[in-house]
């Protein structure tokens, strides 16, 4: 905003207007930031509260209540209990480990399968029967529409007969299927942005098409792959529907554990809050550390 005459009346009017719009923008931004942060703040502080603090509605730690480890003790994660053997902690870590293994392997598998398919579709023309490239792309992307309920029951029966019910492999396969369209969508956009001349040069220099893909294209597309991986990771980590239906004791993931605790009656708020905090914390950290990649992943395909 250019104010040329600082003492002139018109210049002053421009200045006040500018200040007013600044304040409005920052006010709105701050309000929405509070809307986004308050539930997280509330959950984390509640995990350090005792029953009277919850009932009195105390909010700010050290100001109107003293933080206690009671909530975290209920999942065996407090300074006092950390050295001791704790069954609840083992239970928690088992679920945590399940979630980690399932979401990481599923995302990895999806990124590998999806990148290959996306590369093929962006470089070569195929014919499978009546299906051409655009049909094949559409076939992959249309899987996104498929609601999980449609597949849930056939998979329940199928997994029962395959002995895959309540196993991590079963969940990994399903989650891969779930995120594959998104990965293909992101990666196709990435590969289309890489100039074909690069691979042509590599082919002239004597590499095969797979060699060119591995040595030339992959390193360039790596940031996109990381973005697709992180996005898949988030989706798989948070998935509840299939995990609730297809697992019972061995392979249950964190969301299922959290959900099974919410049903129990009584205001056991501190332990629920501790459990919820522990379940969301890994992704909050991922979001803060890798924000760039998440945004890149979601922006890909949106802008052509």
């Amino acid at each position: 905003m250019s104010v040329i005459f600082k003492d002139h009346e018109a210049g002053l009017r421009v200045q006040t207007k500018w200040w007013a719009s600044r304040t409005a923008i920052y006010m709105t931004l701050s309000i929405w930031a509070v809307v986004c942060l308050f539930p997280i703040f509330w959950t984390i502080t509640t995990s350090f509260k005792l029953a009277p603090d919850v009932m009195k509605g105390n909010l700010i730690p050290w100001w109107d209540f003293t933080p206690r480890w009671k909530g975290w003790e209920s999942i065996g994660l407090s300074p006092r209990l950390i050295g001791e053997v704790s069954t609840v902690r083992e239970e928690f870590f088992k679920r945590f480990w399940n979630s980690a293994v399932v979401s990481i392997s599923a995302s990895l598998l999806a990124v590998i399968l999806g990148s290959l398919a996306a590369y093929g579709l962006s470089r070569f023309s195929y014919r499978f029967g009546f299906m051409k490239n655009s049909d094949i792309s559409f076939f992959f992307l249309s899987q996104m529409i498929l609601p999980p309920v449609v597949l849930a029951l056939p998979f329940l029966v199928l997994y029962k007969s395959l002995g895959l019910l309540d196993s991590r492999i079963g969940l990994i396969l399903l989650y891969t299927l779930m995120v594959l369209p998104i990965v293909i969508w992101i990666m196709r956009d990435q590969f289309q942005g890489i100039p074909i001349e690069l691979e042509e040069a590599a082919l002239v220099d004597g590499l095969g098409i797979w060699g060119a893909f591995m040595q030339i294209v992959m390193p360039i597309a790596l940031p996109g792959m990381v973005a697709a991986f992180i996005l898949s990771l988030v989706l798989c980590w948070n998935e509840y529907f299939f995990a609730a239906l297809l697992t019972s004791t061995n392979a249950t993931t964190l969301p299922v554990m959290v959900a099974s605790q919410t049903g129990s009656q009584g205001i056991n708020w501190w332990s629920m809050a501790a459990l919820s905090s522990a379940a969301i914390l890994p992704l909050v950290i991922v979001a803060i550390a890798l924000e760039k990649y998440i945004i890149k992943g979601m922006a890909a395909g949106a802008v052509k």
């Binding site: 023309s125 029951l153 959290v258 919820s276």
Partner: protein, 367 residues
Amino acid sequence: MNTDGDLLHTVTADNISDSRKRLGKLMVWGTALFCVMLALLQAIYQAGSIGIGFETWRPILYAYMLWATALCAAQVIVNGEKGKRTLFVLPAALFVISLVVFPLLFALYISFTDWNLASPNGPQPNGWDNLVQMWNDSFYWNALTNMVYYVLAVSVEYVIAFGLALLLNAQIRARKFFRVVFLLPLMLSPVAVSWMIGKSMLEVRFGPISRIIRDLGGEPTFFGDPEIARFMIMAMDAWTFIPFIMIMLLAGLQAMPSEVLEASKVDGASGWQSFKEIIFPLMLPVSVTAVVIRIIFKLKLADIIINVTSGGPGGATDSVTSFIFREYRDRSNVGYGTLLAMVYLVLIVIFVTLFLKLVSRWMERPA
């Protein structure tokens, strides 16, 4: 995208001998035969006619995977360089086909049976009974009506997200901080959100929001009244997914050429005018993508409903997915539930196709 002919041309002189071709074909057909034989054996064993067989169908899965590997390998053996190209897409295609098409066919079969997991008889085909039952099931129609409301709520989410994206795109300090903070809700699992907000912050006695309402002199009921309960579910879902729309729109705003906006400013357009005449029309394609994807996610909405209200009060918050989830879990009504899911799938496909058609026609219309 240009789909005629390869973008990346490869010229190779493939001399594939007949014996090599025969080997490839033998591999595919041999493993396929092996897989089918194994499946037949297991089917007979399950029927009880013979004594040899496996405990589960797992070995057939391994045989199927062997066949899939052989099929991929055979592409290269039979077709040479052309096969190497096919190898990029084939694994993903095989994966999706085996995990979607077979289960869908199976689902089609069970949706016309009276299968209840609790009944000892197993699936018995019962013709059109399930469809008739669906027609008279007011709860299912109620859930479908709710889905209409839920999808309509996307428009409000879109407006809020657009506003936030515009603000983030303005000349502000601490942009990265705000971007991270605004992104956070998307990272949280719906199950955790349903406890954090639905069960604790909106708790009638001790939740902070109820406290504020009581201080203002109101009487908080969040999940007692049907209309308010539905609104609360919408709000929670919006809270998690607004960042998603926002980031896509932000990417669109950042990709927009700044010359156009500057030109409009020179021509004397006010802020609202330049938004209405320039920003919004230029953002239409991105908006459509974001909204379509958001609607697709919305149609799967279930986790929050299952965990907060489980459909209540009186089915006012039920989504189709949560309704069918209860049909499976509480009543083990497998056949009927699957039919409902299949009908829902058909409705979704019709709706999304029509929506895309309409949007593309509307966008092509000369302004």
